[in-house]
Amino acid sequence: MSSKRLAVVGDGMVGRRFLEAIVERDPSWEVTVLAEEPRPAYDRVRLSAFFDGVSAEELSLATELPGVDVRLGEAATAIDRAARAVRTERGEYPYDKLVLATGSAAFVPPVEGADLEGVFVYRTIEDLEAIKARAQGRRHGVVVGGGLLGLEAANALRLLGLETQIVEFAPWLMARQLDEAGGGVLRRHIERLGIDVACSTGGTKISAASGRLRMETNVEGLAFDTDLIVFAAGVRPRDQLARECGIDVGERGGVITDTACQTSDPDVYAIGEVAAMEGVCYGLVAPGYTMAEVVADRLAGGEATFPGADLSTKLKLLGVDVAQFGAMDGPLATTYLDPAEGVYAKLILSDDARTLLGGMLVGNAEPYPLLRASVGGPVPAQLADLLSSGEVQAGLPDGAQVCSCNAVTKGDIMGAIHEGCTDVGALKDCTRAGTGCGSCVPMLKQLLAEGGVEVSTSVCEHFTQSRAELFDIVKVTGITTFSELIARYGVGAGCDLCKPAVASILASLGGGHILDGEQAALQDTNDHFLANLQRNGTYSVVPRIPGGEITPEKLIVIGEVARDFGLYTKITGGQRIDMFGARVEDLPKIWRRLVDAGFESGHAYGKALRTVKSCVGTDWCRYGVQDSVKMAIDLELRYRGLRSPHKLKSAVSGCARECAEARSKDFGVIGTENGWNLYVGGNGGFTPRHADLLLADVDAETLVRTIDRFLMFYISTADRLQRTSKWVESLEGGIDYLREVIVDDRLGICDELDALMASHVEHYADEWKGVLDDPEKLQRFVSFVNAPETPDPSIEFETVRGQRFPAGTTERSHTGPVLLGTPERK
């Protein structure tokens, strides 16, 4: 045989992918392509970008294909199987093998008037050009269909400046991908874009009247007067050529193929949307690409078969995140609904809740790439955590598909990283991952980090060591100054990262007053002035109120001090009182009065113990089973002044009703009938996390001893600015390992941890009293070295609600409404 002739019908997305693949795998084929459209293949998935000004050329997928004859604008009209030839209006093309890649056509329901001028479908560049021309100078459009395609079309009409109405037959939007709750949340997002939605509604008749259109519906009395109508209600495979020449087609359309993409005629293959793979049509590009590769492999002599398809979808509407992946239904589901933020998420799980089967996300699709890649494996993290931070570490197996557009697994990507890809661009070139819809790009970034594109633990450019390593060095060498440490173990002069970190280590290891000698220069401004710097250059003052318990006399002192120095006062979230707006030179005077009244520093400025909150407990509460107030005060006094990698917070509740919110704290204590439960590793803040139970029903002595060790182990080994929650998570073996170390003393370090804490408790002294007693330290509390008594003239206040605020504050409150809803779990 001199040459093998291959005919391809259709130059769409899948046809083009097939051409690329066959040219690469077996260039000996002589290929003829019959293409109905006037232009070579283009990116239909990004079709809507055409309305954003992306040109037809930019959407083009045309590539150099040696030996391929593409006949644009020449549709196939018939297949003569006996003669093995495809016919067009211009000629006849003999073939040895034939590939059908005719895609599908928009489905237009049999509605009277659907052929009128002003009625469109949404499939080709020509369709969009016609819609655009019609929309010129008009106001209103109707989209029939509230699925993926319909929403995309509706958004396009909106961008063309039309008032847009969606008419959907199903009871909710995207009914094929979302459940009713998800559809409801989506609807609110769509309506917020200014698009009207009518569900459970179908068009019954279209008529033209004075240049406009009228669509009647199945709903009594509901009709739409409009300028144009777009049908986006689904697609039907273009199987006519096959049907007419006797090749088997499916009941609901589509050319039936086996997993080799072979039709009932062994010389004819079908790929893409026209194929009914084992009876199933796929309306997405990814399975089509896989089919293209399968057929190219077969024609090159291979044995490839279709491995099944990932039907995950993500809506590309600007501003509305919707995604669905894996199974729609399953034995178990966990859902999350935040109506105020418009977030709905649902994960479908196996009956033992161990395997993720699928799910849907509306309003926040950030976790989509991670979740999609996790289908078939364990759930990668708590749903709420996934939604609050997209960056949960992915412990994905190598086989997990990361890019489903191009069927690239984590293994492929890790391989490419090891071969030298160091950024997303390189990964795209090497693996094709990320070149389709782009939704996997965040995952690629994570995998780069995971795959040795080094994530450094060094503190900063001056120390290659981690904080934990520096801690050990200081402890072992007994170094007491930063300059000695950097001279021996680091480079350069230090910076705002390593200096406070080292200052904190020196303080944790009992280095005396934090403003002594050289240490003073290391401190962040908050620690330097023992107060919190505010946005206008003033400071806040927070005296310690252990356990939140305070006498009326002390309350009066706070009131008097605030009044006399013109300070704004506020009850904090930590059960104490904050006084804001203090000038540097007033800080010592303020503290003189506070210290005289028996107050101490509250360390609100330090990476140190903040507060131990309490509930009233047995003292007053009819439910209390333990004295939570006394315990909170004892703990707060024991750990006050303790410097740590990040701030430390605690709370004690008198019974399981948990009014002190102890489980949201770094260490939380809850009273039980038999003693105390200890929880560790909780926090609020940016990524809230509940603390985990470390010990149950222990007596006070065991409780305190365990907390001592927990804190000292954390201080010795955590990273800079790593809170206890992240630290516990980072321990290999997690909380169980932690228990082994600090309860069972597996590492034999408990004596040392106990000694460190004993030394802290013994050497604690109030920092503010230390300043007031030292004229040299007091000297620094001035606004200006050359004018010690002059306040900073740039600081101005204004009065709002009877108190002083930095001037200009009230303006800022115009920045828009605040959403008050809190996530509500179902």
């Binding site: 450019e461 200006f784 740039s794």
Partner: protein
């Protein structure tokens, strides 16, 4: 030049603010090697006069101070913000005469230098 204080009054590795006769606020830094730098005390990102309270150090050998508010880092020599090419602090003349620190009300170096962009740091901020 205006005298502001005795040299010994300045803490090594730390800054202090001075108020000049014309109302200008200057941040004066004494480094551990006793070198001196004087820059505007006004943090350009917030408008607060707090630069003297920042932590000094170096980035790639260039002496720096970090704003105590939002932690952007500035070169002590040129005033350039190393985290934002479009921002800089004014730099003032400073000298020690007979143990007294004097600063010049004249801006010695100002605004932006056409230097190559600083190398990128991605760091966690508090």
């Amino acid at each position: 030049m205006e005298a502001i204080c005795a040299f010994d009054r300045l803490v090594p590795g730390r800054g202090a603010a001075a108020l000049l006769a014309d109302g200008t606020q200057i941040a004066v830094f004494r480094l551990p090697d006793d070198s001196l730098f004087a820059l505007s005390n006004r943090d350009p990102f917030t408008g607060a006069h707090v630069m003297s309270r920042g932590i000094v150090g170096d980035r790639g050998g260039e002496p720096t101070v970090a704003s105590p508010l939002l932690k952007q880092v500035f070169s002590l020599k040129t005033g350039r913000c190393l985290d934002d090419e479009d921002t800089a602090l004014e730099v003032f003349a400073v000298e020690v005469v007979d143990g007294e620190v004097r600063v010049g009300a004249d801006v010695r170096a100002a605004v932006l230098w056409p230097e190559p962009p600083p190398r990128r740091h991605s760091r966690t901020r508090e």
